[in-house]
Amino acid sequence: MAGMKTASGDYIDSSWELRVFVGEEDPEAESVTLRVTGESHIGGVLLKIVEEINRKQDWSDHAIWWEQKRQWLLQTHWTLDKYGILADARLFFGPQHRPVILRLPNRRALRLHASFSNPRTVILSLPQLFSGIRHPEELSLLRKKKKKEKEPEEEVYDLTQVVLAGGVAPVLFRGMPAHFSDSAQTEACYHMLSRPQPPPDPLLLQHLPRPSSLVDKTQLHSRWLDSSRCLMQQGVKAGDMLWLRFKYYSFFDLDPKTDPVRLTQLYEQARWDLLLEEIDCTEEEMMVFAALQVPGGPGRLGVAGVRASIPLTPLLPQDSLTAIPELKDHLRIFRDGSPAGELTLKGYRQYWVLFKETTLSYYKSQDEAPGDPIQQLNLKGCEVVPDVNVSGQKFCIKLLVPSPEGMSELYLRCQDEQQYARWMAGCRLASKGRTMADSSYASEVQAILAFLSLQRTGGGGSGNHPQGPDASAEGLNPYGLVAPRFQRKFKAKQLTPRILEAHQNVAQLSLTEAQLRFIQAWQSLPDFGISYFMVRFKGSRKDEILGIANNRLIRIDLAVGDVVKTWRFSNMRQWNVNWDIRQVAIEFDEHINVAFSCVSASCRIVHEYIGGYIFLSTRERARGEELDEDLFLQLTGGHEAF
């Protein structure tokens, strides 16, 4: 080994002194000095360092980081010469795994140990860590946004202590992967991962930054980390916060059963996309999105803690199981046109109403009931619209009943929630051609009551006091469910009925179904899945927007937002990046050539996006669980990757 010297103390071999700092890039850190030669192997150097430090510790995770070259010296059989290391090299002997804070799509933070030396393990280890998040290749990491002001401290779930069983798929224990069931803390963490978060505070929503233009939407995409370089190389420090997001909008084989975490996080990302107006939708669509976020329905009640407030008492219209269930009562009815005032009873007349099977009949009075009704309506195929204002004690059911001649409108006004819930549930079932004997009747009634009780405690009221002591803080604030622009557009009491209306179509969905439906509706938006970049097309004198989606590139006019041209990946022959002039050149079929330079983000990010989508499109065919990481890197990595 190096360090032979004469009796006089002069070194007689070609050895020289190498100083290595111990720790993470801290110049003040302790350092050791070794005597080495150019032929010394990295492995030997590591051994010497440990000997020098002379401390009992598990050093297995430690490796040498060469600061100037921004490179890990991981090839232990390489010599210093081969790496080109001389005495002036600044080397750090530190752990390869360091804690980072990962901000998940649901905007919760998680502290975990991430590899700072291997570019892909951060992402690829997620399935094992979270379990139930297959296809990690769709995810990637974003640098944290530069903060202007201090954000409030958020709760951080700590997963640094979790020990994973190596190599094998996580074992399920008590409905969650075994490594989460160690402590109450990790259990809570798993719930955070796999269950949707409660609606955000509307105030917070208003203060979070929202993109106001396409240009704003390009900002996000400048922050993606490079997947072919390790965290250390990209200047990430221990303890930094990174955002984990679904980067590629191509969700392969989404399966609620095997992917609870993936589904939930995807849902959360979709929700925040909508709430923060990263993607636009229409009013009607927003109401559906809002309704899908509302806890409700048999499967969703437990989650939001509305149990206490559901009166479960007289739900069934009939005690006897054999009788055909029917509803009969005095109700106020309004026909033809809409009632004049919101809260008045003007125009309503009281009738004796009989609801049997799917048919609604009404009579002047109860005595006339055996005779001919004033009107008889078969509700099958009709539209049922709730018209409710809980704080105003208005419980109306608007019926749009189709007939060969057209539609007739009818308003039923109920006295209280109980009555409303029973009749409403009956009407809804009848509109689908089912009767109150249907097994879903009771749960329908419950879902309606649950929703009403949410409303009662929430922002639906204008200065009305909540009713009863069971009104808790868990009430529904409709503002937490919609994008801020709807907060400005509607008063809460206008918004609630709209959401209620949309809710009735989804009230019966289970939590998972609702999430899936949410994701599907999100995917159906015209602007879904487009990542925007500001670019300068070759030969053009102004900046334009390039949209990258999973199947196409879109050239968009920056000022107007109109689509100028679309190219599909399926017609793409090849693409090249000229790293020197930061230009991406793409060739399509029929000799169509496109070239642009990237303005808002590095061209490496654009390149990786395109390559990533090409890679993901190959999954269809292979369909195996095994990912071809090499192919991924080939397609997404730059020239340095080779």
Binding site: C281, E284, K380, R517, Q523, S524, L525, S570, N571
Partner: protein, 627 residues
């Protein structure tokens, strides 16, 4: 009585066989001299007959009559001779399933359109008094194999108008989907079974029409028609039906960049089409084609049209309000698809002063008359119209549409080609039919279906192939549960269900079969509660099926279409018919008695009349023998 009915059954079946045979040969100009080949006839007969069996029990006499009459109507004079010959020669052959492939090609050119509508909704009650035995019911059927279906099943006899102006009647039970009915029609008409064949409903009054989607429940759709409706069901080829799957690029790659209304369809190779379809229909959610542009909207209750900029989204049709931009946030919702169907508007230019004739219409399926709730939109050209209609169907039906197409493809026997496209594993054969409109889910709600094994497709294909060769005995064709072949219980007791639909009707005790042969069913109408229904041109059952069906006998032809077979004589008239029949028996046959009957629409071809009289005569004879 059993005996007699057997005979009659035989006759009936023979007749049916003849009719089929003749129908087939209709397509060929020159008919070879009736060289009745019994076996062939038999075979055909069994095809036709199977359907009958399916819901035989539910049938009323009148309905049967109607059915028979319709069937008869298909026959031309030439056929008569055959029949004659056959009567003597081939009485007993009817179950000799002959495998002979007949000149089927000729038949293919006959488009058959179906039309009927009809009527029988009957609830079968076991303990009814022996129904006026309609001999036909007792046909020597192959022993009822399958277990009985729920007895309360509802069936309609539907008259389907073929595109050659003929009609065919078939039983449609309440669980059959349009796909099943198409399959039936394929068998009956020997057409080429390609995917463009569709059931098509037209509303002459509103001048609108549309395809039945293959997953739609036919009885449910028909139940929205009013009793006196002029609506018709057609069986025809429409290439628009699945155009998107044949040339997806015309719908999905409508490059917004270029504004030109190029009529040229862009070419695309099969592989790209396939990947485009897969991308659009096989993802987590279906992609609705991006579609936007200025359309004319008819203003409510007026004949004026306003031009607006409309956009199609998965959630509905939107328009750009005045002074706003077409960004999502500014859009106003025009209509959502949950409660409406889409129709083509016909000749709106004339009827409503539309700017062009390329109109589409959105309305709730139950609306049958002009109403402010019907929305009319008008496009500049046919291409745009087709894009909108298809786009809306995709938005409304989502993946179901694709599943339907794949099933239709499989049925069309293109399985091999399909396989080569590599999409086989995506094929999802439609589920067994149910009475519910399961298919009508919104696209967003579609959860990708588990992939079904390719074998299903192959099986379908195979089946198809066999059918094509006509080698296959009819009974094998249907797997749907919907086809109850027989209800053993009722059978046993022999009585064909009383014609009566309602229990009240049962009061009219059926005459003992022996007395008059074609036992007069109690006049359907006569009963106290029901005023005799006016002779509806198209009878349809009331939506809930509760009300009495329109008088079956009458129901037949729409006034509009001249052709079709007069409806069967009302049962009550039957005896009458029987009387005269002997005289009629001679050829040239006299004008059909049917015409004499009150309430019958005129208009059968003379041949048909002859045939009818023939039948009567035969019946008479039987009766004579028996007694």
């Amino acid at each position: 009585m059993g005996e007699s009915s057997d005979d009659i059954d035989q006759m009936f079946s023979t007749l049916l066989g003849e009719m089929d045979l003749l129908t087939q040969s209709l397509g060929v100009d020159t008919l070879p001299p009736p060289d009745p080949k019994p076996p062939r006839a038999e075979f055909n007969y069994s095809v036709g007959f199977k359907d009958l069996n399916e819901s035989l029990n539910a049938l009323e006499d009148q309905d049967l009559d109607a059915l028979m009459a319709d069937l008869v109507a298909d026959i031309s004079e030439a056929e008569q001779r055959t029949i004659q010959a056959q009567k003597e020669s081939s009485q007993n052959q009817h179950h000799s399933a002959s495998t002979e492939a007949s000149n089927f090609s000729g038949a293919a050119s006959l488009g058959y359109g179906a039309n009927v509508t009809a009527t029988s909704v009957s609830q079968y009650v076991d303990d009814l008094p022996p129904p006026p035995a309609d001999p036909v019911l007792d046909l020597p059927l192959p022993p009822p194999p399958p277990p009985p279906e729920p007895l309360s099943q509802v069936s309609l006899v539907v008259k389907v108008h073929m595109d050659d102006n003929s009609t065919k009647s078939l039983m449609v039970d309440e669980r059959q989907l349009a796909r099943d009915v198409l399959d039936n029609l394929f068998e009956k008409t020997h057409c080429d079974c390609n995917v463009d064949w569709c059931l098509y409903e037209i509303y002459p009054e509103l001048q609108i029409e549309r395809f039945f989607e293959d997953h739609e429940n036919v009885v449910e759709v028909l139940s929205d028609w009013t009793r006196d409706t002029e609506n018709k069901v057609l069986f025809l080829e429409k290439e628009e039906k699945y155009a998107v799957f044949k040339n997806p690029q015309n719908f999905y790659l409508n490059n917004k960049g270029k504004k030109e209304g190029k009529e040229t369809n862009e070419k695309m190779n099969a592989k790209n089409k396939e990947s485009l379809l897969e991308e659009s229909f096989c993802g987590t959610s279906v992609i609705v084609p991006e579609l936007e542009g200025a359309l004319y909207l008819k203003e409510d209750g007026k004949k004026s049209w306003k031009r607006r900029y409309f956009l199609l989204r998965a959630s509905g049709i939107y328009y750009v309000p005045k002074g706003k931009t077409k960004t999502s946030r500014d859009l106003a919702c025009f209509i959502q698809f949950e409660n409406v169907n889409i129709y083509y508007g016909i000749q709106c230019k004339m009827k409503y002063k539309a700017p062009t004739d390329y109109c589409f219409v959105l309305k709730h399926p139950q609306i049958q008359k002009e109403s402010q709730y019907i929305k009319y939109l008008c496009c500049d050209d046919a291409r745009t119209l087709n894009q909108w209609v298809m786009g809306i169907r995709i938005a409304k039906y989502g993946k179901t549409l694709y599943d339907n197409y794949q099933r239709a493809m499989a049925r069309a026997g293109l399985a091999s080609r399909w396989t080569s496209l590599g999409t086989v594993n995506a094929v999802t054969p439609a589920q067994p039919c149910t009475g519910l409109k399961t298919g009508a889910t919104q696209p967003n709600g579609q959860i990708p279906q588990a992939v079904h094994a390719a074998s299903a497709v192959l099986e379908e294909a195979q089946r198809q192939a066999e059918t094509a060769k006509e080698k296959r005995p009819a009974p094998g064709n249907h797997r749907e549960p919907a086809a109850p072949r027989a209800h053993p219980a009722p059978r046993a007791s022999l009585p064909p269900p009383p014609p009566v639909r309602r229990s009240s009707d049962t009061g009219g005790s059926p005459a003992p079969p022996d007395d008059f042969l074609p036992p007069p069913p109690p006049p359907p109408l006569g009963d106290a509660e029901l005023p005799p229904p006016p002779p509806p041109e198209l009878a349809d059952s009331p939506p809930d099926f509760v009300p009495p069906p329109p008088p079956p006998p009458v129901l037949a032809g729409d006034p509009g279409s001249a052709l079709p077979p007069p409806p069967p004589p009302p049962p009550s008239l039957r005896p009458e018919c029987a009387g005269p029949s002997p005289t009629v028996a001679k050829r040239p046959p006299m004008p059909p008695k049917r015409h004499d009957n009150p309430g019958l629409p005129a208009g059968g071809g003379s041949g048909e009349q002859d045939f009818m009289s023939d039948l009567m005569k035969a019946l008479q004879k039987k009766r004579g023998n028996m007694s």
